[in-house]
């Protein structure tokens, strides 16, 4: 045992040193280091056996694992298996396969072959989950709330993309920024690219280290390679580290040993069928996976997925009134409000008071018009003409995912795995503005040594924003490139003269405005024209710092981690898991996103964790104590405990109680961002160096609140930036009742957020002259005048506690003939937010779901179907990009399918948002219509 721990620690140190000194990761060297290690020779117990079904047919691809070690194998095509373990009998084997009831077999004599007969089952609650405790346990006995989606669920789902399935789980919100950019959130704080929910794919944090959003839908597993998704709603950083304040989503791929063979799936569909925002267009999703075992020691897999479609469109053209990064929807259209700023219209964020800037100078030069001009409104704000989202954002969403893995069994229980994911594509993300992520590339590469009891892995995330651009900034700059706003012949000079001319011809204000706009816009490039395209492409390919819209981001992450499972319970103490990791971010945006124009910025973070599990009172009570310490170089170290208990009230009926403390260090952007966004506000990171750079101490900043609008500005000070923490109390019950036909899962939680990270908007006089803020009559206009005032949005910790609470219930009832009906209800509520803070909670007060499912019915049980209904209440949605009401909506997804067993084919006809009633699940994001597809799957496990 100690040898293994020692090996792990030595390797961890070597990897850590390597990663901190050099990059990128020299994979071959590490492989050599690992392969040459002579430390893996141990006494083995060999167990042989076979698995059959009730009709005495051998069952391939059945999982056999040794209980509480994680060591395991699968049956071959003849249903036989061979398993090595260094633990001595008696052992417990867990035998599981999709569609069959799980069995536990006691092995007392290793020399006797094990014969297992699995029975067909649609029985509920029989799944095994790993992520709740980092060791396998029955889902019914999980100490924390957990939801599991397995390969069979994915195969049978009506969702066109498997991430959508997560969105229909209880307590989950999905923010759909675009077809291929969907962000699941739990326990609130929903946003496109949520940073409070970890997404971990095969042990790798899927968050893009610079862009700060998880790219699971863009760079992750292809659908055919997903073995399971496990969702832990609620605080989970005690095991999964910083982040995971609100939950963790763990996605695991299929082992090439366990799932060999070729499979593919072709989904072809239709979108935009009613031509609302685009012409009807196709949806294509092709996936391929090929896994091969070469002997018993070596296996590999490769996979790929291509999604191509015309994206959903952000088409909220309502008028938006912006003040710094807060604002609201107001009445008005381009034709009725000269200062119109459409939510999903870009370029119209540029606004100028033409009275002050153009007409008053005309009055001074032509005194005979002065009384007339003086009688016009005192402030005449005019915005430039924008382009709608579908005019500036590439309509083609393309997503290519490639993945591959090599798995070498150094010993029967020790796997050496090298794997990589790489993805690229076009998609749209909503952050402080809408971003067209164009030719975005992200790769994740991993080496791992895994022995079931312990693992050690190193991985890196290599991000490249490609040609991604900020739609708002780029379109504003496009307008400037076509016709500058300022100057004697600029757009505003032309507009204002034409406006005055139109007034002098007898037009009303708004008619004069509209004709002035037509005049100033004459010759404006038409969206889609060659002229438009050339100019737009020119502007978007210039980096932001050089006056363009291009987003340069090549930030990388290096991470090494190890874990050891000291199964000492049998020796009378407790099961103990220990682990540690080291993380290094290298921020590299060439000054376009971070304050890194002078060179890359490194951020180091390390942590360790320990978990002890002890069963008491005849296994009636299980206590689990976990703790984790982390340190980030920009933050004080943080210790977070978790205490959880599972009380078995009856067989298959468990009550779970937990207290968890979770935290997150601010995201890399919240630490180091330095970006002036479309609204003119500079988003700053929370590190003090940035505040010093902008002279906050010598030229004070004032909070943009009601005081400033009444001419009484309050100076804002920034204490040391801290990690955000949550203390979460949770109780739940999961149980099988009514002759094991009804699965009930209930949870309730109460969370107290401390040092909650929010943003505060502050203003600073350009000339250090406080008087620009002291006159209530002019302060609002001064705030919008970049010549007078700098606006900043700075992350802060809210000193008072923010509280959340909520509940979730699901009932699944197993009907005869394989039908399962389910209903869910869940709620998340935020309270105690101090006034003036943008908390961006964004979760509905109530969500309801209902589903009917059948994995096999009719002739030879060949037919399948699935119907899922989802309803959620309205949400007052707050984000950097905009605030507004997201109305209540419902969706209906359905699928019917038919299996052709001899040909290994599954044909499905499915619909997402079957009723084609457009909805948005987040303000200013894409509106989503119906997607109808037919799918052909070959050899789907």
């Amino acid at each position: 045992m100690f040898t293994n721990v020692k090996t792990m620690l030595i390797l961890l140190m070597i990897l850590t040193n390597y990663l901190t000194i050099m990059r990128p990761l020299p994979i071959p060297i590490i492989c050599l280091l690992l392969l040459c290690s002579p430390l893996f020779s141990l006494a083995q117990t060999e167990i042989n056996g076979s698995v059959k079904n009730a009709d005495n047919q051998p069952l391939p691809a059945v999982s056999i694992t040794v209980k509480s070690s994680g060591r395991g194998t699968t049956t071959d095509n003849n249903g036989n298996f061979k398993l090595s373990s260094h633990a001595k009998p008696p052992l417990t084997l867990i035998i599981s396969s999709v569609g069959y009831a799980l069995q536990e077999i006691e092995v007392t004599n290793a020399s006797q072959p094990v014969q297992v007969t699995l029975v067909n089952s649609n029985s509920l609650g029989q799944e095994v989950v790993i992520s709740a405790t980092r060791t396998p346990s029955r889902i019914l006995e999980s100490p924390v709330t957990i939801e599991r989606v397995n390969a069979a669920t994915i195969r049978n789902s009506s969702a066109a993309a498997y991430y959508d399935i997560v969105g229909n789980l209880k307590g989950v919100d999905l923010v759909t920024a675009s077809l291929t950019f969907k962000t699941p959130s739990t326990r609130g704080f929903n946003k496109s690219g949520n940073t409070r929910l970890n997404q971990i794919v095969d042990g790798m944090d899927n968050q893009a280290p610079g862009l700060n959003f998880s790219l699971g839908t863009v760079v992750g597993l292809n659908e055919l390679d997903v073995e399971s998704m496990e969702l832990l709603p609620g605080a989970s950083s005690a095991l999964y580290g910083p982040g995971g304040m609100n939950g963790s989503l763990l996605i695991n791929s299929k082992s090439p040993f366990k799932y060999p063979g070729v499979s593919f799936q072709v989904k072809t569909g239709l979108m935009h069928t009613d031509g609302r925002t685009r012409e009807p267009s196709g949806y294509h999703n092709w996936a391929l996976r090929w896994a091969q075992k070469i002997g018993e020691k070596f296996a590999f897999k490769i996979g790929g997925e291509l999604i191509q479609a015309k994206d959903w469109v952000g088409d909220d053209y309502r008028n938006y009134k912006r003040i710094a990064t807060v604002g609201e929807v107001i009445p008005g259209t381009r034709e009725t409000d000269p200062n119109y700023e459409g939510v999903n219209v870009y370029g119209d964020e540029t606004t100028v008071d033409i009275r002050k800037n153009v007409l008053d100078p005309i009055a001074a030069a032509a005194p005979f018009y002065a009384p007339y001009i003086n009688a016009l409104p005192a402030i005449i704000n005019v915005s430039r003409t924008g382009y709608t989202e579908n005019e500036v954002v590439n309509p083609n969403t393309v997503n290519v995912k490639l993945s591959g893995a090599l798995d070498y069994k150094i010993t029967p229980s020790l796997d050496f795995i090298v794997s990589g994911f790489w993805g690229t594509g076009n998609t749209v993300y909503t952050g402080s503005d809408r971003y067209s992520l164009k030719d975005l590339k992200m790769g994740q590469y991993k080496v791992e040594l895994n022995n079931g009891n312990w693992f050690i892995r190193g991985y890196t995330t290599q991000e490249n924003a490609g040609q991604s651009f900020n739609a708002t900034v780029t379109t504003r700059l496009f307008n400037e490139a076509w016709k500058p706003s300022g100057g004697p012949t600029g757009w505003y000079a032309q507009y204002s003269q034409a406006f005055l001319k139109n007034k002098l011809s007898g037009l009303s204000d708004i008619a004069a405005h509209n004709e002035a706009r037509a005049f100033a816009d004459s010759g404006r490039p038409v969206a889609g024209s060659q002229e438009f395209k050339q100019l737009f492409d020119k502007v978007r390919s210039i980096p932001i710092v050089k006056g363009g819209g291009l987003f340069v981001d090549k930030t990388n992450l290096y991470n090494v981690e190890g874990q050891y499972n000291i199964a000492t319970q049998d020796k009378g103490f407790a099961d103990i898991i220990i682990g540690a990791n080291f993380k290094k971010y290298v921020l590299n945006s060439e000054g376009t996103l971070f304050a890194d124009s002078a060179g890359t910025i490194g951020i180091d973070e390390y942590g360790g964790y320990l978990q002890a599990t002890r069963s008491l009172l005849n296994d009636k009570l299980k206590l689990i104590l976990s703790g984790r310490y982390d340190k980030n170089q920009n933050f004080d170290g943080k210790f977070t405990p978790r205490l959880s208990a599972v009380i078995k009230v009856a067989e298959d009926n468990n009550i779970r109680l937990s207290y968890q403390n979770a935290y997150r260090f601010a995201s890399t952007q919240q630490q180091w961002i330095n970006l002036r966004v479309g609204t003119g506000v500079r988003l700053l990171g929370g590190v003090k160096a940035l505040q010093d750079y902008y002279n906050f101490s010598s030229n004070p900043v004032y909070e943009i609140d009601n005081n400033i609008f009444s001419g009484n500005p309050t100076q804002r000070f920034f204490p040391k930036f801290k990690a955000e923490t949550v203390n979460s109390f949770e109780a739940g019950y999961k149980g099988l009742v009514a002759d094991k036909k009804l699965l009930i899962d209930i949870y309730g939680y109460y969370g107290i957020y401390k040092d909650f990270i929010a943003r505060v908007n502050v203003a600073q006089s350009v000339n250090g002259d406080k008087s620009v803020f002291t006159n209530p009559a002019t302060v609002q206009n001064n705030l919008n005048d970049p010549a007078l005032v700098n606006l900043y949005s700075v992350p802060i910790n809210i000193s008072s506690d923010v509280k959340t609470y909520g509940y979730g219930i699901s009932l699944d009832y197993s009907l005869p003939a394989g039908f399962v009906v389910g209903i869910t209800a869940s709620s998340d509520i935020l309270s105690d937010v101090p006034p003036g803070y943008v908390a961006s909670f964004n979760a509905p007060k109530l969500r309801l779901g209902a589903s009917i499912n059948n994995n096999g019915f009719g002739h030879d049980k060949r037919a399948i179907f699935n119907v899922v209904y989802h309803w959620q209440d309205d949400v007052t949605y707050e984000e950097d990009f905009g605030n507004g009401l997201v109305p209540a909506f419902h969706t209906l997804d359905a699928q019917v399918g038919y299996k052709f067993p001899a040909q290994k084919l599954l044909v499905k006809l499915g619909a997402n948002n079957l009723l084609n009633q457009y909805y948005r699940n987040a303000f200013a994001n894409a509106s989503i219509g119906g997607l109808y597809y037919v799918s052909f799957g070959y050899n789907l496990y």
Partner: protein, 378 residues
């Protein structure tokens, strides 16, 4: 229960559920942008065009509007996106101005003449009610709808100004009283004029230099200007279209009287005009000519109706060089809103007022009043 019955009933349930959901529970349509209603004027529904077409008191005006339709004003009056402040002479006003019938309008004027006439009495783009007009002396200068061409180097038109005013004695456009004000319509407001307001076509210089009774005053202006920079002389300013002056021009008899006195009678008032011209050109010191001319010009455009009933001092251009000078004393006598008497008195005239013999001659850049006695500054 037979399995197939179960499927069938389940599928039936499912189909029914889907149908019910799709019929009863629709997602609310995503909200669209809401147009802002352009504020109409005072909730009125009738347009200017409808008003003039239907109110028989304005049939002469409407005849003019109809005849000039090809110039677009009638259409503009019909456009709900228009805004005009219309100073409109009613039929009585036309008659008062010597036009007895609608037929005379139709037959006696070209469409262009009528369009010019109508547009000069409009303030475009804004609705000025009595309450919006300033009571500050002398009046408010606002653009009419009559365009004299573009302002060089811009796309802006140069619209001739009109001068609405408000005082204790009434509400006026230039020198013409408004007899009924503030008739608010959906796209404008109508103020009824007592008479036609004629647009000016000439600058002050042209009016003065071509007037047979102002030959000697013209000579004084030339003499005074001869010693001034070309772009800052009286001559220059009186020709400048965007200037605003009130000129009290003494007629030839008044100038002759002055010269006769100045020469101690050596030049009798009966002397031939050439003698006076020669005196002005060759003997009168240029400073004196400048002083006389400056003292006859007010630096703003004031019609007789803009002056108060009580005699009041107003500064003249002389105040540019002699700042403490009290100026000239002007008083207007009113009968109702109309001026019945109009006098101006110089400081050096020992209380003898000059009578305005011809008042309110409208120029592009000012107003000309002819007086019967030279104003003496000291």
């Amino acid at each position: 229960m037979n399995q197939s019955i179960i499927y069938k009933s389940l599928l039936k349930f499912l189909t029914t559920a889907i149908v019910i959901i799709s019929i009863t529970a629709c997602n609310k349509d995503l909200e669209n942008a809401v147009p802002i209603d352009a504020p109409g004027t005072g909730g009125a529904t009738q347009t200017l065009a409808e008003f003039f077409a239907t109110d028989t008191n304005y049939s002469f005006y409407n005849a003019a509007l109809t005849k000039a339709a090809s110039f677009g004003l009638a259409a503009a009056f019909n456009n709900k996106n228009s805004r005009f402040t219309v100073f409109a002479p009613d039929n009585n006003a036309f008659r008062r101005s010597g036009i007895p019938s609608a037929e005379v309008i139709t037959a006696g004027f070209t469409a262009g003449q009528l369009d010019t006439l109508l547009r000069y009495s409009l303030i475009p783009g804004n609705v000025y009610t009595t309450g919006n007009i300033s009571a500050t002396f002398p009046n408010e200068q606002l653009p009419s709808n009559l365009t004299a061409g573009p302002i060089p180097g811009t796309i802006l038109p140069f619209n001739l100004s009109v001068y609405p005013s408000k005082s204790a004695t009434g509400f006026y456009l230039n020198n013409i009283p408004v007899v009924a004000a503030d008739n608010i319509l959906s796209n404008g407001v109508v103020h009824t004029l007592a008479a036609i307001v004629l647009p000016p076509s000439k600058v002050l210089a042209e009016l003065i230099y071509t007037n047979d009774t102002l030959t000697l005053f013209t000579a004084l202006i030339m003499k005074a200007s001869s010693a001034m920079p070309a772009d800052a002389s009286f001559d220059y300013y009186l020709k400048l279209p965007v200037a605003n002056f009130t000129v009290f021009a003494p007629d030839d008899e008044a100038v002759k009287t002055l010269i006769s006195i100045l020469t101690g009678g050596q030049i009798p008032v009966q002397a031939p005009e050439a003698v006076f011209l020669n005196f002005i050109a060759n003997m009168l010191p240029v400073q004196n000519a400048q002083g006389i001319v400056a003292y006859h010009i007010l630096p703003s455009k004031a019609y007789s109706v803009n002056f108060p009933e009580a005699a009041t001092y107003f500064p003249t251009l002389l105040n540019n060089s002699v700042q403490a000078h009290p100026g000239v004393q002007v008083d207007a006598d009113f009968t109702g809103p109309f001026v019945s008497g109009f006098k101006v008195t110089g400081v050096g005239n020992q209380g003898f007022a000059s009578n305005v013999t011809s008042k309110d001659i409208n120029a592009v850049n000012g107003v000309l009043d002819i007086i019967d006695q030279v104003l003496l500054p000291q």
